[in-house]
Symmetry: C2
């Protein structure tokens, strides 16, 4: 515990910092930050310091209320059902990792990692994604084969001013297949999974773009991009879904120092889209065919399409040479699913308060992934490789769309599954209500009772209408005498007496439909 | 990005710290800590620095493997089903809160809170429990009535050397009822929920101890404990489940400066256990009845038992004056469930590697909670009170017991729900297998296929035995010609030809039983 005088001293000097910033007309953000520190100091003084709390969640985070949770549960259930249908196990890892586990995996984005304070002991960071912890788990436990899903929150100190609507705490929803297998079979299953999930969630039409890192690298090589510029040119290509080709070219030539000629050659390739036929054509392309890497990638794309045909999903899949994807660790096939229906996309934009056009273009992306054969080896002391391919469902975007759909629908989102309310028509029947509801609970029926000794019948019925509870079991003097319960259907207001002995089966019959 | 030379400098001096500690034969823990810092520094150098990773999860945390996850899912399902049966909604809150939100809520335990590094912006801490974020949520959203559950991980920098087997990251599983209601009705429901969950989980016999903070305070008052010693004496009483009365008395008298006479009077009371009758007797007790507070508490205990009788759970509930519970924020009824069967308790001990007797005595505690009517008011700017009562299920302990039971059972824990493997008896049937499995997936059947072009039939069958997959659909030249599939039951090895048209319904029929 720090000394109170010390804290008061700190409050005084922090107060001056805030006053200075205000007088200098500093940015609101900067002032808010310093005010937050001031309030945290004041809070340390405890009860006697008339603490004024800032009632909020941390910047970039949010609570989920019951309605949002009901939607979230529905989406998760659909996704988990699909993962399980494909035989996936699940694992869990801690929310933080040793800092060094994350170091060197995310390139420039490493600055977005949340570090924990050094309170003595290990240096820790909050996980940035689920893929690196997965690779760490495989190497640590010497696992060479697994098909697993992992749904959990990850953390990124993204600048909300730059990427509006993006959260700093958000869910990832990953499915990965690790193991040495024959080419493209697990890769094809990942795309089948994306297809199944997006179909089932009923988000409107979608496309799955496919490419291969080896094709990109081969393309860069034959177009004359110097080896040491592959990565940076790749990340410029990745902006094609948000920027015009002209702007991308400008960045390549002016900022990254690529020759105009090389850029134009790249421009020709990245405008190409197609299916298996395009892969075949490029295998014959006099320039592309000079790259062994590109040929390996193109052959695999052909094989992938063959398997996707057997899965009947080629209608949604397109081989797109402009797809690059940001992450460094991909080594083979990469893919990304985008919603193509304007309505769904605009709903997502609205939900995320994305006003500016630059972002709204790419908001349709709802799943992505690829093959990363080198990542596990980075953790293995002997560098043993475990080939992996996986997909991540963009669950936050899907939540937003589902929330919008729920708002627009006349149907009310129920936040509980209660089947029946145990109510009383007269006073002094609390004990009878408690006895009856206990019987119902013990029979597995979802039931509620009002926590009042003498609630009014009307308020009990109103509660049912608000909460969407379909049935009411009404107890009164007469019903108790007759050994029955008045069963009322909330929607139709019809009432019927049911004997106590038949009540449970009657409730089950009426609510199982 | 820090300068490379700066990092190398830091590595050099950190290396000296480690060498010094080693030469001084410092504790392994201390050395490990400094080595971790050294490695983190080295990792900052990136690829060129031949990084040597420490492959581990942070101290006090663990991964869950698929088997553990299967057990965890089963336990969660039982608990969530119960919460939903009682009409609870669910919410979620961020894993971290503003530091000031947690300040002043946990007394001395505040030192166990994980802080995030100040990377610019707000000061943040990982949540320490789910109750304080719940209270913050209620005050922030001006919610005065809610019945919610929340299952999520919380974080405590507990010293593993002192409390062995306890994790720094662990689940809490909370159910709370907030709102101004008639006395003891929601409180009784909380106990009914504990009763239902412990019954359903089948952990062996249990007891639910009940007491009331007002009874404790009243008892302290009439026994002559000075007002300013209530809290500290209360936390000594809390140790009665781990220490003998003699030792507790010694602490009261020698360490806390209580008079021997007062301690003896407390000793008489805290040895009392009973039911409604004990509450009635104490209401007549010439000393206890002098405290208004104690009388209010005792009357509520009587009322509570009346409702518990209607719920038929009094067989497991005992009014126990020695129950104190650690947390400061309780204001009324408190309770704690303990397992009483030696087998379950010892299983829990083993699972948690609790070798020393001191801890094993209390390891039976699997649920606890109470009434906290003042906490929400601490967050409300106008101090508006929202009475709350809740219960937290000790899920980590329950996991341990369930894991032990699973280990001891001859039945294998399945980590997937796969119903059928699509296999081939000959070579070159990959396409046929992929086509068939796609049909099965589309029909909602959980199915797997080996990711090999030409797997051996034997290895496909062995995989089924290992993974507990009950059925195999075998394709061969003959079957394809006949338009059938050979359906094999893994357990009995019996095989039968099924027409392709009937396959899906036949699989459903056989796996739905």
């Amino acid at each position: 515990m720090e000394d109170k005088a010390q804290i008061q001293e700190a409050i005084k000097s922090q107060g001056e910092v805030v006053r200075k910033l205000k007088s200098e007309k500093a940015s609101k953000e900067q002032i808010d930050e310093e005010v937050a520190k001031l309030l945290a100091l004041k809070a340390q003084l405890g009860d006697d310091g008339k603490t004024q709390f800032v009632l909020k969640t941390p910047k970039g985070t949010r609570d989920y209320n019951p309605k949002q949770m009901a939607i979230r549960e529905k989406v998760f259930n659909t996704i988990i059902r699909c993962f399980k249908r494909h035989g996936a196990e699940t694992i869990d890892t801690p929310v933080f990792e040793l800092k060094e586990t994350l170091t060197g995996k995310y390139g420039e984005d490493s600055k977005l990692i949340y570090d924990l304070k050094d309170q003595g002991g290990e240096l820790l960071s909050l996980r940035y994604d689920l893929t690196v912890p997965f690779a760490r788990y495989l190497a640590m436990n010497k696992i060479t084969n697994i098909k697993r899903y992992h749904i959990a929150k990850v953390y990124r100190r993204d600048n909300p001013a730059m990427t509006r609507g993006r959260y700093r705490e958000f869910y990832q929803c990953d499915f990965d297949i690790a193991g040495q297998y024959d080419a493209m079979i697990p890769d094809a299953e990942c795309l089948k999974i994306v297809h199944e999930i997006l179909n089932e969630l009923d988000l409107g039409d979608f496309r799955i773009k496919v490419n291969d890192r080896r094709i990109l690298d081969g393309m860069f090589a034959v177009c004359g991009v110097p080896d040491d510029k592959f990565r940076t040119i790749c990340s410029t290509v990745d902006k094609l879904d948000k920027m015009s080709w002209e702007d991308v070219k400008k960045e390549m030539v002016n900022e990254k120092g690529l020759s105009e000629e090389a850029a134009d050659q790249i421009g020709e390739y990245v405008s190409m889209q197609g299916g298996m036929d395009l892969a075949e054509r490029l295998l014959q392309d006099h320039k592309m065919s000079q790259s062994k890497q590109a040929c390996a990638g193109l052959s695999d794309i052909k094989l992938l399409f063959k398997y996707l045909q057997l899965f009947h999903v080629t209608d949604k899949v397109v081989f797109d040479l402009s797809l690059a994807r940001g992450l460094d660790y991909y080594t083979g096939v990469i893919y990304e699913a985008v919603l193509t229906q304007a309505s769904a996309v605009s709903a997502a934009n609205e939900a995320q308060n994305c006003a500016n056009a630059e972002e709204s273009v790419s908001v349709g992306s709802v799943a992505g992934g690829g093959r990363y054969d080198g990542l596990v080896g980075m953790f293995d002391p002997k560098g043993r490789r475990v080939p992996c391919v996986g997909v991540s469902i963009g669950i936050e975007r899907i939540f937003s769309i589902m929330e919008q759909k729920a708002e627009a629908s006349p149907e009310k989102v129920r936040t509980t599954e209660v089947q029946i309310m145990v109510a009383s028509a007269q006073k002094n029947l609390l004990e009878e209500r408690l006895q009856l509801i206990s019987e119902l609970w013990n029979a597995g029926i979802k039931a509620e009772v009002m926590y009042k000794k003498n609630p009014k019948l009307l308020s009990q019925l109103q509660y049912c209408e608000e909460a969407g509870i379909p049935l009411v079991a009404i107890l009164g003097e007469q019903e108790l005498k007759d050994g029955v319960v008045k069963l009322r259907v909330v929607a139709t207001r019809e009432e019927v007496d049911i004997s106590r002995a038949d009540l449970i089966s009657e409730i089950k019959r009426r609510t199982e439909a």
